[in-house]
Subunit: 222 residues, 2 copies
DNA sequence: TGTACATCAGTGAACGCGCGTTCACTGATGTAC
DNA sequence: TGTACATCAGTGAACGCGCGTTCACTGATGTAC
């Protein structure tokens, strides 16, 4: 018994096919090289049908960012579950402090970069177009990033308070953590050859070290 | 008395006109949106003349990166002259350590971000296409970035040794410093509205704080 | 129950446009003898 | 000195192609009466 609701679902399915096709093309050729026709072709519909779903390419782009944002939220929530921050004393040795810090940084970096590998299309879009040429995309990604940063900042604050390890400007730290980890993630997407065994190739390990230094500094600074 | 040499110079001048036109278009529309014809048009030559200078767009792209690299080298050299790193003792208070650290981070960030503002076209290209869709561009930028990172790492090592402040993995620190400062720089290019007075808008100031935390951590960690 | 009408995702033909690339050409310069 | 030839940056016409967009259409579904 097909109905109006089924029709709506069918339409949604086609919209999703368009978005998935676009994400794939985007990872291959870049967002700027997307064309309405190539997306429609890949999604298996006629070029003109595109207009039944989006007014223009950028409208689809914004929908793509929204989807990427959801994935990132999940990623962050999952990372958050694994992050702990055992209490330390300031008089502890740097090695001791690091142990505590790495209980945050390691799950954070590993979860994040794993997600990145699995959802490379979504996240490539997210980070590449942050500074891309489409104003609409930049705005959408900026807003999403801002929310994400705030979320992480709150997590940091909570971790910091519950363990009585003071962390100062959590927003600043949150920004930097995301910068470091996304930069590492992009590096990994661009050079997939690098393996965990390599001296300079263990991108995740190096990301963790970078985060460690940052948080060690933040901890000392108060 | 025009001669063969003058002809060569004329050709070089036209090549430069092409590159400059391309950089401008690139900052407006993105590298992926460049077309041979639009570049030639902006440079004031016939489309077909483009082939007298470059075999294809990407060959010009690589030349653009080489030019950007030179600017970056100058920038780094200029920053290096201003960076100092007064000796500290580990027992000093964090505030003391910070004073010393900021003698490096402030000139570094300020010089870099100033350069970025003046040469925004060159540097937009440099950082945007690092993860772009053209393989040739990615490779060219990766090589250039690698050299730049190494240069900064050597500077750090030298500063660290001459002041007897140990710094550990200078390559890792160098990478992170460039990541932080280029991320801030891109943020500034994309949101030129943010002014030094703003609470969250003082991008340079925030970049310095981020670098401070990183180096404070590196210093403590040994 | 039947008949007329509304909605709407998807279609295929057609349009004008900017693109990359080819080709044979120009006209200024320098070289051989 | 003159004459024939080589080099080479820049040109304009022409090509075939993929693009975004318009338009009138289809055919399945639901609604009014």
């Amino acid at each position: 018994m097909p109905s109006r609701k089924d029709l709506k679902k069918q339409k949604e399915k086609t919209s999703q096919a368009l978005i998935q096709a676009a994400l794939q093309l985007c990872a291959e050729e870049g967002y700027a090289s997307l064309s309405l026709r190539s997306v429609a072709r890949k999604a298996g519909i006629a070029p003109t049908s595109f207009y039944r779903h989006f007014r223009e390419i950028d409208e689809m782009g914004v929908a793509m960012v929204a989807q990427a944002k959801e994935v990132m939220d999940n990623c962050l929530a999952q990372a958050r579950k694994k992050m702990t921050f055992p209490a330390i004393k300031k008089s502890d040795s740097p090695a001791h402090l690091l142990k505590s810090i790495e209980c945050m940084t390691r799950p954070f970096a590993e979860t994040f970069i794993n997600f990145l590998k699995k959802n490379n299309q979504l996240l490539h879009l997210f980070f590449q177009e942050r500074t891309g040429s489409s104003e609409a995309m930049r705005k959408a990604i900026f807003d999403a990033t801002d929310q994400l940063t705030e979320l992480l900042a709150e997590d940091l604050k909570q971790l910091s308070e519950s363990s009585k390890n003071k962390l100062g400007d959590v927003r600043l730290i949150s920004e930097t953590m995301l910068t470091i980890v996304s930069s590492s993630g992009m590096e990994m997407l661009v050079h997939p050859k690098a393996k965990p065994g390599d001296i300079t190739g263990d991108i995740t390990g190096r990301a963790i070290q970078k985060l460690n230094l940052l948080l060690l500094g933040a901890l000392i600074y108060e």
